[in-house]
């Protein structure tokens, strides 16, 4: 690995398909060990971004680097260091699970391909199904095979295109757990997803694209706060009494309050910074807190962003 720049860097990357601008001046960086989720409607440039980073497409303008290797100039070096999981499992259906993953291990020139395949299949929980033809597996299991194939050479960077697409909730949760484990082991993960709740739980940061342009990037909390305001909801065990009310109203960071019998919604100057102090003041005032949560979720924030006119567009 060269230098210590972020694992993935896109600098003003643009890409056209004929007359259509699929990606317009995308600039972003993914830190080493980070999970970054690319969000956006269909055609927003998410898959194009992943394909450029996977060396499948070349940027028409700008530069993209993976672990400091340029995707256009040093494509082979990039390919050695990435694991790619396309949206479709894209497996050899007539071949066994083991044969599919073995091919990848051997093609990467691993010293002990059999051991690497065993480890990868154990990681995704498919060791017992290794002799089954891939065509006989469910969609969820095929996705797991595709993940095992992507990680068999232990790449430091993973590019995952909608890894839980089409999976039932339990299979999607299992996939989410696997991705979290990979990041915990040090992998940098860039993933496309339409599942906003999943992105909120899984991603350290999210980037929202629309019509090839990056609209927002930040932690899910930051994106939520920027789009929905710094509003938190505090649920109490009993009714909101006068000391609790005074504790909230006397807090200088509070901008606005809404009261319910046993809950308070508060707009703060900075939810991330001010929430601990708000909670401390309520506890000091004798309030018994059941839950504190940000008002609205990433999905609401996303929909809010999509309803706004695109910056620089002629739309009203």
């Amino acid at each position: 690995m060269k230098g210590a720049e972020p694992a993935i860097v896109c600098e003003a990357v643009s890409r056209r398909f004929g007359e259509r601008l699929a990606l317009s001046g995308l600039t972003l960086a993914v830190e080493r060990g980070e999970i970054l989720g690319l969000l956006g409607p269909n055609g927003s440039g998410k898959t194009t971004t992943l394909r450029i980073l996977a060396t499948l497409l070349q940027p028409h303008e700008g530069a993209a680097r993976v672990l400091s290797f340029d995707v256009a100039r040093d494509a082979m070096e990039v390919r050695r260091r990435i694991g790619v999981m396309p949206e479709r499992p894209s497996l050899y259906e007539r071949q066994t699970v083991e044969a599919n993953v073995s091919f990848w291990a051997e093609a990467h020139g691993l010293a002990d391909p059999a051991g690497a395949v065993r480890d990868a299949l154990r990681f995704v929980g498919l060791e017992d199904r290794r002799r089954d033809p891939v065509g006989s597996l469910s969609k969820g299991l095929k996705q797991r095979v595709a993940l095992a194939r992507a990680i068999v050479h232990r790449p430091p960077v993973l590019l995952l295109d909608e890894p839980s697409s089409g999976l039932d909730p339990s299979a999607a949760a299992a996939m989410e757990g696997l991705i979290r484990d990979l990041a915990r082991d040090g992998a940098t993960v860039l993933l496309n997803t339409h599942r906003l709740a999943e992105a909120e739980r899984l991603c350290d940061r999210v980037a929202i694209l629309r019509e090839g342009r990056l609209l927002r990037i930040g932690t899910p909390r930051q994106v939520r706060a920027a789009l929905l305001g710094h509003i938190v909801e505090v649920e109490l065990a009993g009714i909101v009494d006068a000391p609790a009310q005074r504790a909230v109203e006397s807090f200088p960071a509070v901008r606005e309050t809404w009261w319910a019998p046993s809950a308070i919604r508060v707009r703060l100057a900075d939810a991330e910074r001010d929430t601990p102090e708000l909670v401390a003041r309520l506890v000091s005032a004798g309030a018994r807190i059941i839950a504190v949560r940000p008002a609205g979720d990433l999905e609401r924030a996303y929909l809010e962003l999509m309803s706004q006119p695109l910056p620089g567009s002629l739309a009203a």
Binding site: R80, P86, S90, Y92, A107
Partner: protein
């Protein structure tokens, strides 16, 4: 190309291709039926050779038989090669394949190796069986010309080059077509006329001597080298994964 094929990732790709070909019923059927037919017909033709009723002499009958053996390394790879790139795209496996650390040359070399291996094995095997059958059951006047050393020499020399020609032609069309059938048809259109020199030799319009075979092999080698360059140039990763 040999140096490329020796690389572990290319060998891995070739093994994967062979596994895939083995499990593809249509391809296995085509690959198995054709050589068997090409074995039975020439042996039967020579076994039941009747000088009184035959059109042309014994040399003509042997030439007819030999045409089948030169046709095998040309026809057998055509389907496999046409499927090579476009088939991967159709089943959705091309995109992840292109993220492997394989250059365009290595990718094509792996495909070529996997196609040539079964083709040449089958081609030489049926010819060996034919020779054994001729030696065992066929009588004169066709026995001697059928066992003439120039035929196995010519087949051993030009068979691999013909197979490579067919494979590379199929891969060029597979890399540039959007449909397997189009790739098959286009490569068929190129391959059949290209058999004319073989036809001229087996019909003895051109005498099948040592010099003839060496000359023909030299020309084929040059054509194959040019085709290899064309195939590498024709293989465009972005175009290959594009569905429009």
């Amino acid at each position: 190309m040999n140096a490329i094929i020796a690389r572990p990732p290319v060998r891995a790709l070739a093994r994967k291709e062979l596994r895939e070909l083995r499990r593809h019923r249509m391809i296995v059927a085509t690959a198995a039926i054709l050589p068997v037919a090409f074995l039975v017909l020439p042996v039967a033709n020579l076994l039941f050779y009747d000088p009184a009723r035959a059109i042309g002499g014994p040399d003509f009958a042997v030439g007819q038989a030999m045409f089948c053996f030169f046709l095998t390394p040309v026809i057998m790879p055509a389907t496999m090669a046409a499927y090579g790139i476009i088939g991967e795209r159709d089943q959705g496996t091309l995109e992840p394949l292109l993220t492997l650390p394989l250059s365009d040359r290595e990718l094509l070399a792996g495909k070529v190796a996997a196609i040539l291996l079964p083709t040449l094995t089958a081609s030489f095997a049926i010819y060996a069986v034919y020779m054994a059958a001729v030696a065992a059951v066929v009588s004169e006047p066709v026995r001697s010309p059928a066992l003439d050393w120039t035929w196995p020499f010519g087949l051993l020399l030009t068979g691999p080059l013909l197979a490579l020609f067919s494979t590379l032609t199929g891969l060029v069309f597979s890399a540039r077509s959007k449909d397997v059938r189009v790739a098959e048809h286009l490569s068929g259109l190129v391959l059949l006329p290209s058999m004319l020199p073989v036809l001229l030799i087996v019909t003895r319009t051109i005498e099948p001597s040592l010099l003839t075979w060496l000359g023909f092999a030299a020309v084929l080698a040059l054509v194959d080298a040019a085709l290899w360059k064309t195939a590498v140039r024709a293989f465009d990763r972005e175009r290959a994964i594009s569905t429009v």
